[in-house]
Amino acid sequence: MNRFEVVKPTTLAQAKDLVQEKPWSVYKAGGIDVIDHLKEHLVEPPRLVDLKGIPGMDAIKVEADGSLRIGALVKLANVAADERIKKTHTALAMAAGEAASPQVRNVASLGGNVLQRPRCWYYRLEEYKCLKKGGDVCYAVGGENRYHVIFGGGPSYAPHPSNTAVALVALGASFVFDGPKGSRTVAASDFFTLPSKNPEVENVLLPAEVLTEIRVPAATGRSVYQDVREKQAFDWPLVSIAVSVTLEALVVKEARVVLGAVAPIPWRSTRAEAALVGKPFNEATFVDAARAAIVGAAPLSDNGYKVSLVQTLVRRTLAQLA
């Protein structure tokens, strides 16, 4: 293991300086994903800048208008257990509560969960120098691709691993960053980027930027999260989904349908949303939305089953909200 130092600043300004001072230094929050990267030699930073010494980034605040301000260091377990979030932004609490295992949820942060890198087994193995690591091949093509994407793939096919991100996109959240050039806010739906733009990254995070806060607008309707996995816990979903729906007189006024584990980003199914808006909120509409959700799916050799899982989950999740 290459030698590195761990520093624990107490202010964001120090943290940014410390990361910029030595090239290739990285931030560490809960450490779940960073330590996996270190152990497999996917990154070899000279310095880890531990953000957990910085005060004020680990609180959940509910504003007067019902919107949420969640510090990026809030643990998944706390998001999952927060009664207010459970009530108003149900999908987020559910997604956080389904992640990994109790041990991991007690260490992992919400910000880290959103920013984690893909779990694709080729990406995670040092010996496969894939597109995401500056190589020129996505080994999933013609390889072992049963867990890979059916939407938005190419040239890389690794699914985005964050299921809280799926919920946050469905809830219209935005991310607040603090970086060398100051602070900025980016809508969750604009933050994640497809590999066709640049396969080596999954989002528009800038060098030395810190995700400080997750803002979620007040809920106008209800939301829910579901997933299908092989194991009941400590497993990555085969498909996940978060749906947020606002109804007016039993007719859909607004809808967001976001799919996880099927695309390189949290995948907003605009077709499913279009099939919902203006329609009565009933089983026939759910079936139409489910059918719309799979239009354009392009499975690889071994992951065609994900198409039928998407269709089932869209219908079921909507039915759960009815």
């Binding site: 072992e144 092989e230 899982l309």
Partner: protein, 780 residues
């Protein structure tokens, strides 16, 4: 594991004739047996036990739950170095050059080893190793070793390896295995094992009114014990001590001594506590690595102890696995369900090793079937060699056979339990059918597969369906008739020590042997201080094939009995007895059998010993005549299937097992429940995945190599059906393998009952379940 019992000594040893009561309660059988002269009459159906069959927590339980038990992984010696293996990164190559110069100059590196073999046949095969002052330096040094390969074509997929133009894993003259077995490309076989050919298979199938022919597949499953393989090697002069995470301390001793060319007297191997093996830790090192020998060499060359534990990825790659299987079953029956013929034709890959057969269950199940044929083929692939894994080949084979029997029952429109009962000559399993059926509520199953009946329970919805299925299991009594010893010492203060070199794989062996000694001495298990897992003590077998308890228990009993006779001789005068034969020991007392009021406590009795102790050493002379050589068992399973997502949830599993006379009911049940969990995990999740283009394992960890976790757990029930088998003086039998055999088929058959969809591939993941449901819809 198919450990060969040690050969019976020749010439035949003198025996005595005696009678004993074999079988099970309600069906006793008086049998003639011929133990060796001096051997004890076996415990049988008439024996009244005071300690045996009870429920006892492990003696070392408090040490384990408080973290004080030192596993191999926990041991640290002064001045100890850390070793690390380097495996091949490619699946098939000639090693052109191994450059260790950078590693050798890294500060902290104390020794380097490189292989003499120039050919690698699987990714992960030993190439080099290092020892350094810290594990981090060892890892760095390992990464600095530069290996140049001349890569060769390879094949990792079973069916591709069977093709006539497949890339050969071996040249014809290099092919391992018995030269008398036919070989064709990468295929070794057919081979017909013992008891797998009877009658005329073609004629038998022609006699049938109804036939089922189907093909079943099983993926490669790895052992994945919590503690990886590893040793600590320590030289003191020319004396070598090895702390090993092993199932066979004597195997390590012999294997390492032979590899190093040193006398066995110079090698001591110790396994105090053991973090799991399941058959993978029966070799001196491992099936696909020589790491233990390498650690000894590194320690010698560095002049310091070396600890070398494999990492999780290496554990998956080179320490063994359960072979894949591709089986075609052809069963014929008369209209009334009487089997006429069963043909089990099997191909499987044990990687670069032979031994991928799966037909063996047919040698035990349905023995009244007039025509049977088992034909096994091992197919070489460029993958890590297999190792025994809890009844090697039997879970795969039983998945094929017991799925096919279930398919036949459906075709005959017969109750699958009744079809089995009709064709089963085992009196033990006949009793077990009723017990299992009652425990699962067999009458609740869907009368027509996939058609929900309210009685089947659960919450019926449009998407979830429940069903109940079963499968038979089998195994054989495997025991060492010789080459097993034990010493028991009774000290003057009344304390008792029992010495057996055999190791506790985790089954509760230590506690079980204390129970056997306590039964004979009239004490409690905690009164016996056990010394095990050390080659300084009398020889014991490797913990494999369900042979440990029933190989060692008889010598523990014999040694305890012999020591007790010496104690009786010391104490007879004080009690006014005419001799030791007048005395008995029970309930912590020694007394005159005919006059129990004439007694001393065990402690008082021991005080009469003339010297410091009385001691006796016993050796196993022969295996006795068995009531039945087959160990019978079966499993019942209830599942719930989400037919829209393909998720399978096991609700309940019941395992009914013959276990001889159980020594410790608590740990025996625990061992069965462990097998249920392992079987369920294999059935639903575990799948070693090698990249099809590069031949390396993509899920060599515990994240993507999926193992059943607590949330997937179900109600696991173990029901023991004690059988006095008379095979040894304790009538014990092993339970490691038998409950591992039926699980895959029981689960798949329950899924069929729930959904009407037949899944013929293991593991039954959602994608396969959805495909089977779609296929069932197409047929309907």
């Amino acid at each position: 594991m198919a450990q060969q019992p040690a050969p019976q000594p020749t010439p035949p040893i003198p025996t005595v004739k005696m009678k004993a009561k074999a079988g099970f309660e309600g069906k006793p059988v008086e049998m003639d047996i011929n133990p060796a002269v001096g051997d004890l009459k076996p415990w049988d159906l008439d024996t009244k036990f005071s300690v045996m069959k009870g429920r006892y927590p492990r003696l070392e339980g408090p040490l384990k739950v408080t973290g004080r038990a030192k596993y191999t992984y926990d041991i640290k010696l002064p001045g100890m170095l850390w070793g690390r293996m380097v495996g091949s990164s490619v699946p098939h190559a000639e090693v052109v050059k191994i450059d260790t110069s950078k590693a050798e100059t890294l500060p902290g590196v104390k020794a380097v080893w490189t292989t003499e073999s120039r050919t690698v046949r699987f990714a992960g095969q030993d190439v080099a190793a290092v020892a350094a002052t810290t594990p981090e330096i060892a890892e760095d040094a390992a990464r600095l070793i530069e290996i140049t390969y001349n890569e060769k074509p390879f094949v990792t997929d079973l069916e591709k390896a069977m093709e006539p133009n497949a890339s050969p894993v071996y040249t014809p003259e290099q092919v391992p295995g018995n030269a008398s077995i036919p070989r064709n490309g990468n295929i070794l076989g057919p081979q017909t094992g013992r008891g797998l050919k009877r009658g005329d298979i073609v004629a038998g199938l022609a006699e049938a009114d109804v036939r089922v022919e189907a093909t079943y597949r099983v993926s490669v499953h790895t052992h994945a014990p919590l503690e990886t393989h590893g040793v600590i090697a320590q030289w003191e002069g020319d004396e070598l001590t090895i702390y090993a995470s092993t199932q066979g301390v004597f195997t390590v001793k012999e294997g390492v001594a032979e590899a190093l060319g040193i006398p066995r007297t110079k090698v001591r191997v110790i396994t105090e506590h053991m973090g799991g093996g399941f058959g993978s830790k029966l070799a001196p090192s491992a099936s696909g690595s020589q790491f233990a020998v390498v650690a000894c060499r590194l320690a010698k060359s560095a002049g310091a102890p070396v600890k070398l534990m494999l990492d999780r990825k290496q554990e998956h790659l080179c320490t063994g696995n359960a072979p894949s299987a591709l089986m075609t079953l052809n069963i014929g029956a008369k209209k009334d369900g009487t089997f006429t013929a069963i043909h089990h034709k099997s191909y499987g890959s044990a990687g670069i090793a032979p031994g991928a057969g799966t037909a063996a269950p047919l040698s035990n199940l349905y023995q009244t079937t007039p025509h049977i044929l088992g034909e096994d083929h091992s197919v070489f692939t460029n993958a890590g060699p297999a190792a025994p894994l809890r009844a090697p080949g039997h879970p795969q084979g039983a998945f094929g056979l017991e799925s096919a029997v279930d398919e036949l029952a459906d075709k005959l429109q017969m109750d699958p339990l009744e079809l089995r009962r009709k064709n089963d000559p085992s009196p033990v399993r006949q009793m077990q059918y009723d017990i299992g059926a009652r425990a699962i509520g067999w009458e609740r199953r869907n009368k027509k597969a996939g058609v929900y009946e309210p009685a089947s329970g659960g919450t019926p919805s449009r998407s979830t369906k429940r069903g109940i299925g079963m499968a038979n299991g089998e195994w054989n009594v495997v025991a060492r008739g010789s080459g097993v010893g034990c010493e028991v010492r009774i000290h003057r203060d009344g304390s008792v020590e029992c010495f057996s070199g055999a190791q506790d794989i985790g089954s509760g062996f230590r506690t079980a042997m204390a129970i056997v000694a306590a039964e004979e001495l009239g004490l409690a298990p905690q009164d016996i201080t056990m010394h095990i897992g050390d080659t300084r003590w009398p020889e014991g077998p490797g913990s494999g094939g369900s042979n440990t308890t029933n190989s060692v228990a008889p010598v523990v009993r014999q040694a305890a009995y012999d020591a007790k006779q010496k104690l009786f001789a010391s104490v007879a005068p004080a009690l006014g007895a005419t001799g030791p034969d007048d005395l008995e020991a029970s309930g912590g007392k020694v007394f005159i059998a005919a006059k129990p009021s004439k007694s001393l406590t065990f402690k008082q009795a021991a005080a009469k010993i003339a010297g410091e102790q009385v001691a006796a050493t016993a050796e196993r002379k022969k295996q006795y005549e068995l009531y039945r050589s087959e160990i019978a068992g079966l499993q019942m399973c209830e599942v719930e299937v989400d037919v829209e997502t393909g998720q399978v949830r096991i609700i309940k599993m019941v395992s009914v097992n013959d276990c001889g006379i159980p020594v410790n009911s608590m740990t025996t049940e625990s061992q069965v429940i462990g097998a249920l969990i392992q079987g369920a995990s294999w059935a639903l999740f575990e799948d070693r995945t090698l990249d099809r283009s590069y031949g390396t394992m993509v899920n060599g960890n515990m994240e993507s190599y999926k193992i059943l976790a607590p949330s997937d757990m179900f109600e696991a029930m173990s029901i023991l059906t004690p059988v006095a088998n008379l095979g040894n003086n304790t009538s014990t039998a092993g339970i490691g393998e038998p409950p591992a055999v039926p699980a895959l088929a029981a689960i798949a058959n329950a899924i069929f009952n729930a959904t009407g969809a037949r899944v013929r591939s293991i593991p039954i993941t959602p994608d396969r379940m959805l495909a089977a449901l779609a296929e069932a819809r197409r047929r309907a």
